[in-house]
Symmetry: C2
Subunit: 295 residues, 2 copies
Amino acid sequence: MADTITLLIEPLPADADITRLDATFHEVDASMPALRVGELSTQRGDGIFETIGVVDGHAQETRPHLERLRNSARICELPEPNLPQWEAAIARAVAALPPTGEFALKLVLSRGVEHGPAPTAWLHVAPAAGFVEVRRRGIRAVTLDRGYGRGTAERAPWLLLGAKTLSYAVNMAALREAKRRGAHDAIFLTSDGYVMEGPTSSVIIRRGDVWSTPAPSGAILHGTTQQSLFEHLGATGRQTEYRDIPVYDLETADAVWLVSSVRLAAGVTHLDDRDLPYDADEARELNAYLLSPRD
Amino acid sequence: MADTITLLIEPLPADADITRLDATFHEVDASMPALRVGELSTQRGDGIFETIGVVDGHAQETRPHLERLRNSARICELPEPNLPQWEAAIARAVAALPPTGEFALKLVLSRGVEHGPAPTAWLHVAPAAGFVEVRRRGIRAVTLDRGYGRGTAERAPWLLLGAKTLSYAVNMAALREAKRRGAHDAIFLTSDGYVMEGPTSSVIIRRGDVWSTPAPSGAILHGTTQQSLFEHLGATGRQTEYRDIPVYDLETADAVWLVSSVRLAAGVTHLDDRDLPYDADEARELNAYLLSPRD
């Protein structure tokens, strides 16, 4: 079976009721050109995306990802995606994958070709990088100023802070800066010193038995993995909360986690120049849950 | 002759000394797929670009654009571009265009395909939109908060503020917001109320005989058209300066101009809810200069 699958999708209006959804996408060879140079995704980073983890033939949390895609589309004034169409495309890709192993499935909805009539869309799934060691041993992280004060997103919605857009050059630059400082990942802070999110992850801290994550204001993405983990924590008797988290609370937490769809839960063992407490059993528990089939 | 030309370019190292540069690019049909879905330009807005105006067979200010491309590459840690290669590609495209008329020539340098060995690059030239009326009559503009305070760029270089990256979703959203407010364009302000730049232009104000533009700190792009215009103004006896411009100075200026490579000089006739002075003769003079061959 193929372990890399690319589907080009002809995006349907949200209210289109088509029974033969399969006819609206087709497989292409990822090593061959598939996009035009006029693509606004490539010229302007003008589009949105989601990355879904696939574990042993199961696409994790498909619906929350698609709902976030819809929310990103709303913020970016892109046509509302047809969720059944995306579900059908995901199902087709997953069915073609090997039945075991971990994969990263990426959905992209672009504004389309400049002056073109319609958005373009595609799905690409490939084997996930090996994160077994990272999940076990944790990572080093650095804090980086994101440049925005609290309240900016509400005041300036054109900054698209709550949307998962393709304009990720800053996120990639932050990861390079983290590596330059000898770390694996970064945690963005507001310019006034509050925890936001990682460039490609959500931040969760634990103090005693209370698990906290930054309030999902418009300034950060509402993490699908974070929400799923909070459900699990709540269901197993732990207290969870959304609140403003000053950097001091991050530095003095009993545990700091960066969670994301494919790497899953990575414990932060070092933050900037300081050691953080790290519990390998906790890492095992969180990742065992996140690797189990979730919807 | 073709009025739309696309060249795919195999980017050479900056120090490569190749005599047959023509062999390093080839023409493709812009209506056909040319890029792979793994392109980081499209997945992450991870690349840089320049847009050069071509007027009656002459590419304007090629060298300053290429030098800015090199500066963007440095900020984004992309391989330094080979400027003679880009010059050769531009020359080839321009030679194939009709000898009269205005065109927009876009250069793109992308980080390449994910996990791929090398960056990808292309050039695309197409007829410019008709800006004759805009240059004559001016435009309405609104001010929009860019969310960053002064000094952010220096403090947080990973925000890539001085680079012309492909991550332009916010710039495009700002233009949509301007249109929603009944205007044609936007002027970004720092969160503490200083003038930055337009989403795709530089801001110049005039008070009496003094022409000012925001100091080219790391927070804004150093506009090629602005620099060229300042040379012209200086050469014709006008005083020019770089300085911090508080929004009050914008609102009370004797003239406000948004200048860019293809639209050239657009006078701002209305800023938010207020009328601004507008001099059609000045617009004519500035655009006559900007339409003349410049290097």
